[in-house]
């Protein structure tokens, strides 16, 4: 049986998505129940669908010293880092602990594959990459973490987790282990994924993309809307930031069922949830809010709704926020972790946008509209292809009994 972990302080956090740049933009959009989705204007041969596109990436080149890392994904990473004083918080941690004592753990599903796609569209007559795309580091999935290590001048452990849509949830688990074992004193965790042809046409080929804005847990839901986002959090021991919200626990588990369909009874998801509760030392009844994976795919939502009904009392409120941001894939774990932290900070349970006609599989737990109530403990679910499941547990510094 798992022992509860010693909670960590989430001493700084931020998110940038289709809802805007930084925490305040996210809080306002959630409060106003305003979606960030728009008709797809991204791909060269636009698919009829809606996307969660981040504004201003095209006008925000990387600073000259980082020019070798230029690509849409690293631009979004840099844009995200510059919100909410996050860059300064990392610099302070680096000064306090030393550059080798701060880990950098990033989740992404496709990193800068968009740059590789572009190179293939512009191959030289001899069949090779054009000269301006012969930047080796951006054509590997570690591109994001490699860029951030340089941009943040961090020299400790640096790892990319790429487990599809659970990627940037799992980095919290890796960080906790490294801190507990004394390998590092702090960790920058997070993730970035950007719109690209691979995921738009790939999910379309799997017939998982909706033609309309996604409707998580709605009776007539018809698939996902793909989004892009960047999010980051700084984890330290609680003594370093006693007033900050806490990472209470995490859970990870595998479905062992199918590459692109969830286990019909949500076995891996349930194991991850129970694992997170055990590490957090929580009973289900102590959970105030769960930010669901809720992609608006037929199967995920059916399985997840049943899981919540089975494990939690109706006092635990639940919603998906993918109707706001779209499914940000490898960034979903951190973005929705940040939504859980905003719920704690502002006492705001965000309504499940897009669920106007609730699926009867959904129990009384579902918050279909915004609810204003104290949130002491919040979970975030993230499930990915390959049956890869993760769940994070956060809490207010002084948890409400």
């Amino acid at each position: 049986m798992l022992e509860p972990i010693i909670p960590l302080a989430v001493s700084a956090y931020t998110a940038t998505s289709a809802l805007g740049h930084g925490l305040e933009a996210h809080r306002r959009a959630l409060e106003q129940a305003r979606t960030g989705l728009r008709p797809n204007d991204f791909s060269l041969d636009p698919l009829q669908c809606w996307v969660g596109r981040v504004d201003d990436i095209e006008q925000a080149p990387l600073p000259t010293p980082f020019a070798a890392w230029e690509c849409r994904n690293n631009r979004l990473a840099w844009l995200g880092l510059n919100q909410d004083g996050f860059l300064d918080a990392v610099r302070a941690a680096r000064a306090r602990y030393g550059a080798t004592r701060v880990a950098l753990l990033m989740g992404t599903s496709t990193a800068s594959i968009g740059a590789t796609e572009e190179a293939y569209r512009r191959l030289d007559p001899d069949g090779g990459f054009p000269d301006d795309m012969l930047r080796l580091a951006i054509h590997a999935p570690h591109s994001l973490a490699g860029f951030l290590a340089e941009a943040l001048a961090l020299e400790g452990p640096c790892l990319t987790v790429s487990t599809a849509c659970s990627s940037s949830a799992k980095v919290f688990a890796s960080a906790e282990r490294l801190i507990r074992l004394g390998v590092v004193d702090a960790a920058v965790v997070g993730g970035v994924d950007t719109l690209c042809e691979s995921t738009l046409f790939g999910f379309n080929a799997l017939e998982l993309v909706s033609r309309e804005p996604c409707r998580p847990f709605d009776r007539a839901r018809s698939g996902i809307s793909i989004g892009e986002a960047a999010g980051f959090a700084l984890l330290e021991r609680v003594e370093a930031a006693p007033g900050a919200p806490r990472l209470l626990g995490y859970g990870e588990a595998s479905d062992a069922h199918h590459m692109s369909t969830p286990h019909p009874e949500g076995l891996g998801a349930e194991l991850a949830l129970r694992d997170a509760l055990a590490r957090a030392g929580l009973e289900p009844s102590q959970v105030d809010y769960i930010n669901l994976h809720g992609t608006a795919s037929l199967k995920n939502d059916e399985v997840e709704a049943a899981l919540i009904g089975r494990l939690f009392p109706p006092t635990t409120r639940a919603s998906s926020t993918k109707g706001f941001t779209g499914h940000t894939l490898g960034a979903a774990g951190i973005v929705e972790g940040v939504v859980a932290l905003l719920a704690i900070e502002h006492g705001l349970v965000p309504g499940n946008l897009g669920g106007g006609d609730p699926d009867p599989a959904c129990g009384p737990h579902f918050a279909w509209r915004n609810e204003s109530r104290p949130v002491g403990v919040a979970l975030s679910n993230s499930f990915g292809f390959g049956g890869n499941n993760a769940c994070l547990a956060f809490a207010r510094a002084e948890r409400i009994a």
């Binding site: 599903s109 594959i113 999935p141 790892l159 487990t163 890796s174 074992l181 004394g182 390959g386």
Partner: protein
């Protein structure tokens, strides 16, 4: 930091020259080794899956199966970490080429096989493993970073962990930027405690700074090591074949890791 120490219980290996770990031992002893067939057998996969599975999956499942068999552990209970610098390069090449010419013809199966955690997914499905599974990378430091992730998981949760480090060969125009000329895979079962199947104790120590020199292993051709980002594991595998010694891996872009193998007590 205090050093991390884990016990090796099983070793898997596959490259165009070496069908398993015993073949590396033989090579180091100066014996001739017959090269394996072009496709890793990956006998653990059901026959249908084995026919359809992409190269990255065959390679990872082959070495994972070897290591777990040697350890005597039950694969279904082992948390696993799959490290690969570039994932499945033939699929990446196919995806980028198709997206450049006829995006709406993209194969749904190849798309879901393109995720970096495809080997972890197929492995957990084939073995009925519900334990945590991970898929990681760190550019040219994926082996060392994967070893750090796997060792910290084993020690933090007090249970044995499967580590797989593998990369396919490059394919198409992508090869120019990945510098992977051959496939290479290896796997270790790492336990936090010594046991009946312990082969040796690995002590890991992080040391700031980059490695300047290319790794050299007497008896192993340098071009084997240079052929794949996963083949930087060869110095570590050679230590395991010899029973004791030290080597250095990269754990991150600017972080080295001293690896000390102590002989089995």
């Amino acid at each position: 930091m205090s050093a991390l120490a884990v016990y090796v219980e099983g070793i898997g290996l596959w490259s165009p020259q070496l069908p398993d770990f015993a073949a590396l031992r033989a090579t180091l002893a100066g014996e001739a080794v017959a090269p394996p067939p072009a496709r890793p057998p990956a006998a653990l996969l059901p026959a249908g899956e084995r026919r359809r599975a992409p190269e990255s999956v065959l390679l990872a499942v082959e070495v994972a199966g070897q290591a777990v068999t040697m350890s005597g552990r039950d694969a279904a209970t082992l948390p696993c970490v799959f490290a690969s610098s570039h994932g499945d390069q033939p699929i990446m090449d196919y995806m980028c080429a198709t997206l450049a010419s006829a995006p709406s013809e993209l194969s749904p199966t190849r798309f879901h096989n393109s995720v970096h955690n495809a080997p972890a997914g197929y492995w957990t499905i084939a073995t009925g493993c519900h334990a945590p599974s991970n898929a990681v990378c760190a550019q040219r430091a994926s082996v060392g970073a994967g070893l750090l992730e796997a060792a910290s998981l084993a020690l933090a949760d007090g249970q044995p962990v499967l580590l797989v480090c593998s990369d396919t060969a490059g394919s198409g125009p992508l090869t120019e930027v990945t510098a992977s000329t051959a496939p290479f895979g290896c796997a270790l079962v790492l336990s936090p405690q010594p046991g009946a199947s312990t082969l040796g104790r690995l002590v890991l120590h992080l040391c700031p700074g980059s490695i300047v020199d290319a790794p050299v292993v007497p008896g192993v051709p340098a071009d084997w090591i240079a052929s794949s980002p996963a083949a930087v594991a060869l110095p570590l595998l050679a230590l395991l074949a010899q029973g004791e010694g030290r080597c250095r891996l990269m754990a991150a872009g600017s972080l080295g890791m001293d690896v000390h193998l102590e002989e089995r007590a």
